[in-house]
């Protein structure tokens, strides 16, 4: 029987979304799930070992092919467009929804201290957030939670991979002063999470914020 690795590589290449083991098994029926899982791991390993430009990532409950992070500078050069980032308002709102889901709009607003209608709409439009039900209280307000796109966007396999709030705080360098400096300055300095050993062109990757188009907080139509 043919080595499933080649088939897996081809199938992952044409897929436009992460493929779960179940879906892969539906396509490669002649192999057991166990065999497919082994082959996927071997593929993952061989990519790494051979210093390839691609990798097999596990995200949103499935597998997909993606480029290696250290090659981002060249891809940016090809695309000549920076990925758009969420605005700070959108990111704060998303963080609250992610960690407090399911949560109502009023509860989000109580934490942020500002209205979130516009931001919430943007997050829904971007499919990062979805309606998950209604709260059993007066007025039965809509409850919001995160979506599958959210997992893909941040590279999580599933919600259990969401770092704890403490872990997230560790990702953010604390200023030397007491208190918290906030992420105003952080926005422009993504050091720390970049993959080690990558030949990153700082001017390309460590966007100076200004060049990165911010979306999310502002509805372009308003």
């Amino acid at each position: 029987m043919r080595d499933p690795k080649a088939i897996l590589e081809a199938v992952l290449f044409v897929a436009e979304e992460p493929l779960s083991l179940e879906r892969l098994h539906g396509v490669l029926e002649e192999y057991t799930k166990k065999e497919l899982e082994t082959a996927l791991r071997e593929l993952q390993d061989s990519y790494l070992r051979e210093g390839r430009g691609l990798q097999v990532i596990e995200v949103a409950g499935g597998f997909r092919l993606a480029t290696r992070p250290e090659l981002a500078p060249w891809i940016l050069k090809l695309k000549q467009a920076r990925p758009t980032r969420l605005s700070r308002a959108a990111m704060e709102t998303l963080a609250i929804i992610a960690y407090k889901q399911a949560i109502t709009k009023a509860e989000i607003e109580a934490i942020r201290g500002v209205e979130v209608d516009g931001v919430l709409r943007t997050l829904l439009e971007k499919d990062l957030v979805r309606i998950v039900g209604r709260k059993k209280e007066a007025g039965r307000p809509i409850l919001y939670g995160t979506s599958k796109t959210f997992l893909e966007y941040f590279g999580f396999k599933d919600l259990s991979e969401l770092p704890s709030l403490n872990e997230l705080e560790e990702l953010v360098p604390q200023p030397t002063l007491p208190g918290v400096q906030g992420d105003r300055q952080d926005e422009s300095s993504p050091e720390g999470l970049l993959p080690a050993g990558g030949a990153l062109d700082p001017s390309l990757v460590m966007g100076d914020g200004g060049a990165t188009k911010e979306v999310g907080g502002v509805d372009p139509d308003r």
């Binding site: 290449f13 044409v14 990798q55 990532i57 997909r64 092919l65 993606a66 480029t67 290696r68 992070p69 250290e70 981002a72 891809i75 990925p83 980032r85 969420l86 700070r88 308002a89 990111m91 704060e92 998303l94 963080a95 609250i96 992610a98 960690y99 934490i111 942020r112 201290g113 500002v114 209205e115 829904l124 439009e125 971007k126 499919d127 796109t149 966007y153 941040f154 590279g155 709030l165 997230l168 705080e169 560790e170 990702l171 953010v172 002063l177 007491p178 208190g179 918290v180 400096q181 906030g182 992420d183 105003r184 952080d186 993504p190 720390g192 999470l193 970049l194 993959p195 990757v205 139509d221």
Partner: protein
Amino acid sequence: MAYQVKLEVFEGPLDLLLHLIDENQIDIYDIPIARITKEYLTYLASTPQLDLDGAGEFLLMAATLIHIKSQMLLPKEEGEDELQAEDPRTPLVERLLEYKRFKLAAAGLRRLEERQQLVYVREEFGEGETPEGPLEIPLLDLLVAFRKILKRTSEIPVLVIEQEEIQIEERMASLLNRLAQESPLTFSSLFHGEQRRLGVIVTFLALLELLRQGAARARQSVPFGEIMIYRMEEGRPA
């Protein structure tokens, strides 16, 4: 006191307060309310371009601060234990701490966003894949698009109400004509110049019908992008 106002955008009153607390190296558990209130108001007063949308929230916080200040000036009631009486600052401190947690969480997620954005996957619109089979636009997108247009037309005062019947068939033909000249067209461009609600509805229905018949096809090349309308011929893009 010379106060350097930084014209930074704050994400609301709590954000501004945290900034002031931070900048003045204040212990968040023991906020000198009079001082911070003054700083807060100074900031507001010196920001003429404070966006009106958020002004209400900033002012409500100003009121809250003044209220706390006044409470702290009140003499303790007879027999009230020092320890028992709740510090009037406590609710605010709790809100600040809660908000700060999520502000940090957002910064952490930003790191993950940055990391993930270094990794590219293949775009959905590659491979010269022909638009075939079922549509890929979720309900929300459709409703969003349709509501936008309905809303827009309902806001334009219509002075003369014509009783002219716009036939869907006619509109389908004219849409096809436009698509024959230029394909793809953006979804929104289909409605340009259309000021009447009825006209928009007819155009929308004509489009739905073309899509149903397979004479046109709607696609979004990126998840949040414009919906593009393609002319189709015998199941393939023209």
